[in-house]
Symmetry: C2
Subunit: 161 residues, 2 copies
């Protein structure tokens, strides 16, 4: 009585079991995917929040604090602590904007760049192995489906200029 459920009327033409499999795959994949850089981060007294900042600043050198907040979707108070530690310890550099001097343009120092590579390398390797094992056609389906799961793939990444 507790495990046989009628399919919900809005589930489209997929079985609920297939959809639940996706829920669980996302949970397990993300858990494993994020677990690797943690040892490296812990060695520096950092956490995942630091990784995210380092990653996106490395990806978008010269980005503003506002842009970073838009990507991470956290409050500026949450970001402030993490960012201050990274700046104080010489991983991230801040520079006033040229046109708009209120902005603090963010970039990685060479120390930050080296750390970013060490952190991201583990994840790149994991993805590379998975992509190679799955094959190009599966990767295309992976990309297409994952983007469809995301709220709006264009926002929060490059859309906010």
């Amino acid at each position: 009585m507790t495990d046989i459920k009628p399919p919900p009327p809005h589930a489209g033409h997929f079985h609920e079991g297939q959809l639940r499999e996706a829920i669980e795959m996302l949970f397990f994949a993300y858990r494993d995917f994020t677990s690797e850089p943690d040892a490296l981060l812990a060695g520096q007294g950092f956490g995942r929040a630091h990784h995210r900042v380092i990653y996106f600043v490395g990806r978008h050198p010269g980005m503003t604090v506002s842009e970073l907040l838009g990507i991470l979707r956290i409050t500026k108070q949450s970001l402030a602590r993490v960012l201050r530690e990274l700046v104080d310890q010489g991983f991230v550099a801040q520079a006033p904007g040229e046109r708009d001097k209120r902005q603090r343009r963010l970039s990685l120092t060479s120390k930050g760049l080296a750390f970013e590579r060490a952190l991201t390398e583990r994840q790149l390797t994991r993805i590379a192995k998975a992509y190679a094992a799955a094959g190009p056609q599966a990767v295309e389906g992976f990309r297409k489906t994952l983007l469809a799961i995301t709220d709006d793939p264009s926002l929060g990444r490059k859309g906010m200029s």
Copy 2:
């Protein structure tokens, strides 16, 4: 000098840009995917940890605490707080094992079952839409690739019986 990097020697036959796209897609998809049930959870004074417990107990009625700990990969102390709240508020039931009376077999009450459906429905709908939009072939690639990203797809789910 900061954004042109040579491809790492171990990245296989995919460009680093493609691999970084995957890193970012996983981040954004998972963030959006987990964001929806939060309002519902907050209304009960719960968080994501409660959702995970409710989800997996609903998925595996009669599971033991050890099995749940193995899936979630958190400490028993972390689980204890969440589980106690769910039991106290009548979402989860505990029953001693028949053969092994040390065990507390976990299951959802009818109240818990109703809440599980309300919570999971949002995520099922999201996946169903994405699957429908992407098509069966893309879904197959999605599954294959996501499983390859996961450490060992057989462990931590059904393999520990």
